[in-house]
């Protein structure tokens, strides 16, 4: 059952600079990496990764536009429409794995950290431009013995990009797989680093999405639907995509160079 439902917001948490988490009860099974289509009546309906996938679900929203702004201004007791969850989730890697989150991409990978059977098999690398944009650090530490933080401006943790930090982490410990979500630029370079170290990865991709349900084809990348065939793709699949890191499509389907 993925159909439209209306839920009441039970908790609102300000996570960091312009980032808000909305919690709500929804009796559906959600795998790490899956997303909802979230409706704010009169405004828009947008895809949002589940940042909490237990009994009380959650989405974590950065205020970057009309729909996200409207979501961030909601209060406890307010209603939102949800449908889903949609998409394939992250598969549980065999053995030790590393979870990489960049910016609000951290929200989407958080459940993939918490799916680890014990704290020693999952390491974490979070990155953002500045320390105030790092979210869920404490939450990650509850599920992992090794949480590394990077900031572009050096205000918190490693001074540099998360990709540079991961490059160093991969040299120190061997991982069966990398799980990642973040801006496409980050993922593009992360893929190169994964290839350099010979590690397979699962990455959550993003494209302009309309139906969210695998029908309309608006969100395709190289003919694959991000909503239904993704949003999680394997590194080797992504590596074969002509459009990854190079182009996306606008609302009409026209190609835009990245």
């Amino acid at each position: 059952m993925n159909g439209n439902e209306v839920v009441r917001i039970t908790e609102v948490v300000r996570e960091g600079k312009g980032v808000t988490t909305l919690r709500f009860e929804l009796d559906r099974t959600v795998r790490p990496g899956q997303f909802f289509m979230v409706w704010v009546p009169g405004v828009d309906e947008v895809p949002m990764s589940a940042s909490y996938n237990g009994k009380v679900k959650g989405i974590t929203v950065k205020d970057i536009g009309e729909a996200t702004g409207a979501l961030c201004s909601l209060n406890v007791g307010d209603l939102i429409g949800v449908r889903g969850p949609y998409g394939k989730g992250f598969a549980q890697p065999h053995g030790v794995y590393l979870v990489v989150g960049g910016g609000t991409g951290i929200a989407a990978v958080m459940p993939a950290i918490e799916m680890a059977k014990d704290r020693s098999i999952v390491d974490v690398a979070f990155g953002a431009r500045s320390g105030s944009e790092i979210i869920f650090e404490e939450r990650a530490r509850r599920s992992s013995d090794n949480v590394m933080i990077s900031t572009d401006d050096g205000s918190h943790g490693y001074h540099g990009t998360v990709v540079a930090m991961v490059d160093e982490m991969l040299a120190k410990r061997s991982y069966s797989q990398i799980i990642a979500c973040g801006p496409e630029r980050m993922l593009y370079y992360l893929l190169q680093v994964c290839k350099k170290h010979g590690v397979e990865c699962q990455m959550s991709l993003e494209r302009f999405m309309k139906c969210g349900s695998g029908l309309c084809g608006s969100c395709v990348i190289d003919g694959r639907r991000v909503c239904a065939d993704g949003p999680i793709f394997l590194g080797r699949e992504i590596d074969e995509m002509d459009e990854f890191g190079r182009s996306k499509r606008d609302e009409t389907g026209r190609i835009i160079k990245l």
Binding site: P41, C216, R225
Partner: protein, 304 residues
């Protein structure tokens, strides 16, 4: 001999399953993926003169039994679609170009372009139930349908199919108008005009208010439409509406469809639906000693 081989006008399909318009047809690469998944032919998303963004979300309302959607005919416009057709042509299955327009002149322009890009047939969208000035607003009038089909037929060499709306009591008249105008075939049905209401928010869900009903709920309406048309027109009919599995597809064939289009099931079941339908059809035919799928077309009409 390939028991599923199907001929629509002059277009030869390896099997009678087709991708319905509006599903994954926005890009050449996704059409190619659908072809690789086993579809006998693919239909592009409806393409118009100019780029269109479509409606703002929500554009889809979903339940287990049906969808209501109003995408709003988003498309990159006929010029940009050249690139997609170039890619799609690599797929080796016939490509039906779905065309929408607000005037006969524009129908001709877009259809001619799509022919130039290598489309194997035109599918005129005379049936979108929710876009102002397009689709069903023309498609419920037999005279207008006649004129559009006749003029487009006069302008392209490839076969021209008309996709019709069930949102009229004059469906058979419209079908006869397509045939009289020289149309090569009929595609029935497009979605059924519908709305969805949110009780909690006390308002329609879709941003456009009106949308089109699709999925399993519309199958009986599609079957009735094909059945009625089969008795009256002699041009091929392509059945579409709520096909989820081979049995649904076979029902359409027996009602009178020469081929079937699959749309909503792609979201519900994934692209494997094409192979499932084909396998089920083959098994049925083998178990019942049927040599060619064409022997089953319209058989239900013979038992009244």
């Amino acid at each position: 001999m390939n028991s599923l081989r199907t001929v629509l006008a002059r277009v030869v399909l390896d099997n009678p399953t087709m991708l319905a318009s509006g599903m994954m047809g926005e890009t050449g690469a996704s059409l190619t993926k659908v072809a690789a998944a086993g579809a006998g032919a693919v239909v592009t998303k409806s393409v118009g003169i100019e780029p269109r963004t479509g409606y703002i979300n929500p554009t889809l309302f979903e339940t287990d039994g049906y969808y209501v959607n109003a995408m709003g005919l988003p498309n990159p416009g006929m010029d940009a679609y050249a690139e997609e057709m170039k890619l799609a042509r690599a797929s080796k299955v016939p490509i039906f170009a779905s065309v929408f327009a607000a005037s006969i002149k524009d129908f001709i322009s877009v259809s001619s372009k799509m022919e130039e890009y290598g489309a194997n047939a035109i599918e005129l969208n005379l049936s979108c139930p929710h876009a102002k000035g397009y689709g069903m607003e023309m498609g419920i009038d037999p005279d207008i349908v006649h004129d559009i089909v006749k003029e487009v037929k006069g302008s392209v060499k490839i076969p021209v199919f008309a996709k019709l709306t069930p949102n009229t009591h004059r469906l058979v008249e419209v079908g006869l108008a397509v045939e009289k105008a020289g149309g090569d075939g009929i595609v029935a049905i497009n979605t059924v005009k519908a709305i969805a209401i949110s009780v909690e928010f006390r308002r329609p869900v879709l941003s456009n208010i009106y949308g089109g009903l699709s999925g399993p709920a519309v199958k009986p309406i599609g079957l009735r439409s094909v059945y009625d048309l089969y008795g009256k027109v002699s041009i091929p009919i392509i059945g579409v509406g709520g096909i989820d599995d081979w049995r649904d597809a076979m029902e359409y064939i027996m009602a009178g469809a020469r081929a079937v289009q699959v749309g909503s099931a792609i979201g519900r079941k994934g692209l494997g639906v094409f192979e499932d339908v084909k396998t089920g059809m083959r098994d049925y035919m083998e178990a019942n000693g049927v040599k060619s799928i064409s022997d089953l077309v319209g058989v239900a009409n013979e038992r009244k």
